[in-house]
Symmetry: C2
Subunit: 483 residues, 2 copies
């Protein structure tokens, strides 16, 4: 049915490290995205276009003269096209994608000081240019008019129109792993950016998000800012129809089961059991991203101990934090503030009231998720929050989930979780108390609901659903054109 696949994303399925022999050595990346999309590329012809992220990546791109090439990594084989963005990488990636767009989509602005709104034009020109390079890579990889193109995320918002320009009939889906925000946040971007991002995404036949809430916000933004017409789930603009749909992304159960049964996880679990010493575990597992709302989470834990002395000495809060974007000043300052807050809590309630771990240790995270009595995920805004699904899947204690209402995962998990307003610390402290004192029977009922919901939409189902919707959209477009 298709002439193959083209996938485009900022980060590709393979990264290179300097090998012991001095030559670049390929390694397969982690995560559901690589599993789902990379899996499809094992079964049919296709190319993955991505941006070179490191010097070693750039060395590889130069060695093949920027052309497509084949590579094997950890048992999978890929046809890749690696884009070297040169000096434009920094403004494209850090200034526009991770600052302007990420901050807007997660409402992270430190109003009235940021966004500063200055010197965005140069960075925006670079973002545009890297997107053009990626689009060019995609165009060259397209095998025929029935090739399906899957663009990933907020780094490539402007790639669609160039691809559409080259192949008016292309089957094009753009999936965003982020949330989408309302107009108030979107309009803090310079108008040309807000408008180009919306128009860029609307070059696709299908725009996908992980939650129907983000879909509604996206359609409303297109209607308000571009004057687009909304018809059921579709956005109509300039004679083009774009379906905006949610595709639930659940856990990779098999992958999790393998990890859970591993020796390092067992070892990490024994360590955690010793630290816990029979107390209840309130757990957080997050990247150190501003959007994760770690600081308010710590304040809620502090309030819990202040207002409910009965939990002191009976609860341990373990925050497992993966360092993220520490080159961005706001991220460094935020982590410092979190660590200072943790220190205050220890001074107030004793050294072993809480531990913050900052580092990469997947086994320790898995072992903690198996043992948590309460998993606390309170992001101010989160595309999905996969941890909220991995936790219930791995957990062995009918652990309770205290979950922000503004995570994409909440749409499927709300029947099992205690749902909170991420800005209301008093309500979060209440929810932690309710979770810690919940009856065993209610925990069991809720945990069963969470497990069932977390399994919906495995990575391969998630991608299969996208393909099906994309094919439907394209064939009804052809139908309209013929009719």
């Amino acid at each position: 049915m298709s002439d193959g696949l083209v996938i485009a994303s900022n980060r590709g399925p393979v990264t290179w490290e300097q090998g012991e022999d001095g030559r670049p050595a390929p390694r397969r990346g982690f995560g559901g995205l690589v599993t789902a999309l990379g899996g499809a590329l094992q079964d049919e012809p296709g190319t993955w276009v991505s941006v070179a992220l490191s010097d070693v990546d750039r060395e590889v791109a130069a060695s093949v003269e920027g052309k497509a090439f084949e590579v094997s990594a950890d048992g999978s084989r890929y046809r890749l096209r690696l884009i070297d963005a040169g000096d434009r990488f920094e403004p494209y990636y850090n200034e526009v994608a991770n600052r302007l767009l990420w901050f807007a989509l997660h409402r992270l602005w430190v109003d009235p000081y940021s966004p500063t709104g200055e010197s965005w034009r140069e960075a925006w020109a670079d973002y545009r240019s890297v997107n053009d390079q990626v689009a060019q890579g995609v165009v060259e990889a397209v095998e025929g008019s029935a090739t399906e193109v899957y663009l990933q995320d907020y780094h490539l918002c402007l790639a669609g129109p160039a691809i559409r320009g080259a192949f008016p009939d292309a089957a094009l889906l753009h999936y965003l792993h982020t949330p989408w925000t309302g107009l108030d946040a979107l309009q803090r971007l310079p108008d040309p950016i807000a408008e180009a991002v919306l128009r860029g995404l609307l070059a696709a036949d299908v725009v996908g998000f992980s939650s129907p809430v983000w879909c509604r916000a996206f359609r409303a933004g297109a209607a308000e800012l571009l004057g687009a017409r909304i018809e059921d789930d579709a956005v109509l603009l300039d004679g083009r129809r774009t379906l905006v749909e949610a595709f639930v992304l659940g856990v990779d159960a098999e992958d999790l089961a393998t990890s859970a049964a591993s020796e390092p996880v067992a070892a990490a679990g024994a360590e955690l059991d010793a630290a816990l010493d029979g107390r209840q575990l309130v757990l957080r597992v997050d990247r150190t991203d501003l959007s994760k709302n770690i600081l308010r989470g710590l304040r809620a834990y502090r309030l819990l101990l202040e207002r409910h002395p009965e939990h002191r000495g009976r609860v341990w809060h373990y925050a497992h934090l993966n360092p993220s974007r520490q080159e961005v000043p706001e991220y460094r300052e935020y982590l410092a503030r979190c660590l200072a807050e943790a220190e205050e809590i220890r001074e107030l309630f004793g050294e072993d009231a809480l531990e913050i771990f900052v580092g990469d240790d997947y086994s320790r995270a898995v072992a903690a998720l198996q043992r948590s009595d309460v998993l606390f995920a309170n992001p101010v805004k989160d595309g999905t929050n996969l941890v909220a699904k991995e936790g219930p899947t791995l957990n062995e204690r009918d652990g309770v989930l205290v979950l922000s209402r503004d995570a994409g995962a909440t749409a499927v998990l709300e029947a099992g979780a205690l749902v909170v307003n991420p800005y209301d610390v008093e309500a979060q402290a209440d929810a932690l108390h309710d979770a810690l004192t919940m009856s065993a029977s209610e925990r069991a009922v809720r945990a069963a609901r969470l497990r069932e919901a977390a399994l919906r939409g495995s990575p391969s189902e998630w991608f299969r659903a996208q393909r099906q919707v994309l094919r439907g959209a394209v064939s009804s477009r052809s139908g309209r054109a013929a009719g």
Copy 2:
């Protein structure tokens, strides 16, 4: 037609100062609100209920044992009811009204750090209780079932339901002088606050704003958060129908003309002319409120001089700032940052590139508005921004108005102004350049449009329109009840 009027607001039409004889001396307040509402009270029976704001106010309230009383001030006579909120004043006014609500309605949160979401419940209970006191004052002042009640602003969001409870048939209008925000900002409030504020306002027959944009946002919020039904301009909830309407508030032309012709204004004008020394004047007149976006304004002026050296030495930026809420730490820090930015600009482009005046000097502000070549009003969000209307009314040079798209006044001024995105400093620098280099003929055309628009809705017309809409809403309600 009516049994008189009751007006309720936080700040009343009269304030007291310690007189020379040691006794409280009444003074009439300033502004269009006192002119419009106080004027109506001169013509028909009625009471103004307000909150005692100072120790002297509280002394006056105590001297009449909290009862209604009559007072003359500066030639006007009022029947007043002064509410002493005691210890609750501080949390009601500073914590809830000026912090939680003001910040939410103007999107001023310093995410990811504020709102902190802590200990709001106590302050909220105090806000509720002061609102109950005011409602009680209103109820006691109502003369009969046809008495019209006009509640003012975001301090009294919860007064409506108590008044409605006592008089189910009361004619009740609640006017908000602030903007209204989208869900993203509203949902940063604790849920019970967001919901109670919406429900409280919907106890009125009519909710008024100064711009149709705020009306739309309010209706959308009621639909989304409360599940209310929207029917044309009305919100339907629990069998009650509330009309949500915009009432344009323009300048008080007579009052302005009197000021403009005064001796102090002439003296201030001569001083400004000397400082200007033939250069073009870029003017800002604002309270030092975070919502006024002064810092980005200064950055735009700096960018203008950086990118257009031809303006150096030919332009003078005068920022006339009225100190506001300097007891709030964020406001103090913001003003300090603005002053530091101004200092940097002077270091870069010379001492006389700019002057910041911080103080109360109405005559100087009027003289500056008469002389500006460019009036720069770039609030991130502003209920109306009356200065943007006073400027064109007073101006004698066909001055250009560079105006934020997010001010309430923009709805009527956009045909004459250069409208900018308040977050886009590069675009604001461009607009300043365009304004400074605009042809005399275009300036004249635009200035004429601005003058015409600024006069629409004089304070007394503004209030007359509200009365008419309120009476219409009440009589169609009675019609439905009878039918």
